[in-house]
């Protein structure tokens, strides 16, 4: 066998070391941020912290949560993730079911497919989209974070492919029993599609939690912003003119360990669902792959 070959064994261990090194490199920045967030102010300012906290304390976290803006933003983000994911999944599952029917059964299927395919490959652009949202009256409304993103064609395709891979006998049996499309979807398809639904829900949820641009584009008042948008202005732009905060707040925001704490809090929900995500996503991705 090739792996008994001495030169291959040398390669094998070098390769192993390389891969382990690379994977550690992928999580080191997060560990660094976590260490800074738990460090004392002076050590963090002087940038002495590497991967272990110096002067260990939770002060930056308590300071962060004392800030009302931050609490509001977290609530908005949670609310957004729940609403957006629930409504998005309902719309996606319903549409995907219809699209998963054969063209023999659902003759205008191709028409719908092109309708959705087109919006996936052509976008009107930032300014027309903004003007439309303005015209519809959604500027400064919570729903601007939810409604435009409800139709995610890519998720629809994943869901549709999952439905199509289910055994046809289930359909046959249900039809013979006189079940309608609604009945087939709710009583036959939904119960056995829970893993796929869980996967796509988790991805949607992470997407909602992470998205920041729509909040910045469509919402003028900072109290309405989701966490990602707030974090963007505090941590990245470092622009305090818009946020209307007091000088004490300003001192706090420019504090390196507080900033690190805020970044880590934004990472936390993703880290929490990550083990679940990982169990599912390989399946989900393969669905869109090359078909024989």
């Amino acid at each position: 066998m090739y792996y008994k070959d001495p030169s291959y064994r040398v390669f094998y261990y070098i390769n192993l070391a390389l891969l382990i090194g690379i994977s550690i490199l992928c999580i080191l920045p997060m560990i660094h941020i976590f260490a800074v967030s738990l460090s004392g102010k002076s050590a963090a300012e002087a940038n002495l912290v590497t991967f272990f906290p110096i002067d260990f304390n939770f002060e930056s976290y308590t300071k962060t949560f004392e800030n009302d803006n931050f609490g509001n933003a977290i609530i908005t983000s949670i609310w957004r993730a729940i609403t957006g994911t629930t409504l998005g999944m309902i719309v996606t599952i319903m549409a995907a079911f219809s699209l998963s029917r054969s063209s023999a059964e659902f003759r205008v299927r191709a028409l719908y497919v092109w309708f959705f395919l087109f919006i996936m490959i052509f976008d009107a652009g930032l300014v027309p989209n903004y003007l439309l949202v303005q015209k519809v009256g959604l500027v400064n409304s919570f729903w601007v974070l939810i409604l435009p993103g409800l139709v995610n064609v890519w998720n629809m395709i994943l869901m549709m492919n999952f439905f199509r891979a289910l055994p046809k006998e289930l359909d046959e049996a249900a039809i013979v029993d006189g079940a309608t499309s609604f009945r087939i979807l709710f009583s036959v398809y939904l119960p056995i599609s829970l893993p796929a639904i869980a996967t796509i829900s988790l991805f949607t949820m992470v997407g909602h939690w992470n998205s920041w641009f729509d909040g910045m584009l469509y919402m003028r008042s900072q109290e309405q912003w989701p966490l990602a948008t707030l974090l963007q202005t505090i941590v990245v732009v470092q622009d305090f003119s818009k946020t209307g905060i007091t000088p004490e707040d300003l001192e706090m925001m420019s504090n390196r360990s507080v900033k690190a704490a805020q970044i880590f809090i934004a990472m936390l929900p993703i880290l929490a669902v990550y083990p679940l995500l990982q169990r599912f996503f390989v399946k989900g991705i393969v669905l869109g792959a090359v078909k024989e």
Partner: protein, 314 residues
């Protein structure tokens, strides 16, 4: 194999069954599609007429109906304005490099990871390298700003190695390098999933036969593994061409600063800035140019992927 036969045979009988059943009332299927269609009509199709702003000197207070028409002037402006031409170049340079490395590195990583036979170790490595994919560029932007600043941890490491500190985000060329490398760092693991799936699908008999013929691992990789990966590589590559004019707004916007606008500004950041400055028509025009090129590249990409690898999305 057996399952396929069963499905195929029942598939045939089902059409016969169906034509007899009064199942042609498909209104329920239309109804199930209705919410998605409405949302798409309002938020995706309704903005499209707004594209005509590209042919107007649009003023918000006059509206699309009242703004004066100026024909192709905006497009002429786009291709003659120094700023916009530079921006298109920046976008192309950054995204082409991202596409090339974004294909090569995940393939290489998948090949190397495929050699690991300890399953527990393999899974731990995967857990770690997939993680950055799920973090937003706001979070990673914040982290990078901290790590790569002049007194950041990376520059401190360089100083101890007697290398002069580098302005990763303050120098145009270094900015491009940083953007490409950090994007690669975030995505290479997750992009490797498709290739790992393809690798696990290769028929083991091929390797056994090669083994008997005395082929080493390298020869096996070159003659069996790589050819088996080729179709999926073609698909990934052609589909990624669609992002040629994107270059990732989220990332660039969160890392860019006035020092590196010259070499780091891309189409999307330019469009957003023009929009903020109230230059609606120019922003629409540049955005339209990007959308059209993207449309052509994506449709072309899907066509090639379909012809070459029988890839179908719907």
């Amino acid at each position: 194999m057996k399952n396929n036969d069963i499905i195929a045979s029942t598939g045939r009988s089902s059409t016969a069954l169906r034509s007899k059943m009064p199942f042609r009332k498909t209104w329920r299927l239309h109804l199930l599609l209705l919410p998605a269609v409405l949302i798409a009509l309002v938020f995706k199709y309704a903005p499209m007429p707004g594209i005509i702003m590209a042919f107007q000197d649009f003023k918000p207070w006059l509206g699309i109906g009242g703004s004066p028409w100026i024909g192709w002037d905006n497009f002429e402006l786009m291709f003659t304005l120094n700023g916009t031409v530079q921006v298109i170049w920046n976008t192309l340079i950054i995204s082409v490099l991202k596409i090339i490395f974004g294909l090569a590195v995940p393939v290489l990583f998948a090949l190397l990871l495929n050699e690991v036979r300890n399953m527990g170790l393999k899974r731990s490595i995967q857990t770690m390298v997939y993680l950055p994919h799920f973090m937003s560029w706001v979070i990673l932007g914040g982290i990078l700003l901290d790590l790569l600043s002049l007194d950041g941890i990376v520059n401190r490491l360089l100083t101890t190695l007697n290398i002069k500190p580098v302005m990763f985000l303050g120098d145009g060329d270094w900015f491009r390098v940083t953007v490409i490398v950090s994007d690669l760092w975030k995505e290479f693991g997750f992009s490797a999933i498709v290739f790992l799936a393809a690798l696990s699908g290769i028929n083991p008999d091929l390797y056994e036969a090669a083994e008997i013929d005395g082929a080493g691992r390298l020869q096996q990789t070159i003659n069996i593994t790589l050819p088996s990966l080729l179709p999926i590589m073609v698909v990934v590559f052609t589909l990624s061409l669609g992002s040629m004019l994107s270059a990732n707004f989220d990332q660039i916007y969160n890392l860019i600063n006035p020092l590196v606008l010259g070499k780091g500004d891309i189409i999307d950041t330019f469009v957003f800035r023009s929009f903020q400055d109230g230059q609606y028509s120019l922003a629409t025009t540049v955005g339209l140019f990007k959308s059209l090129v993207g449309f052509i590249l994506i449709s072309g990409g899907y066509y090639v992927a379909y012809k070459w690898a029988n890839y179908r999305i719907f």
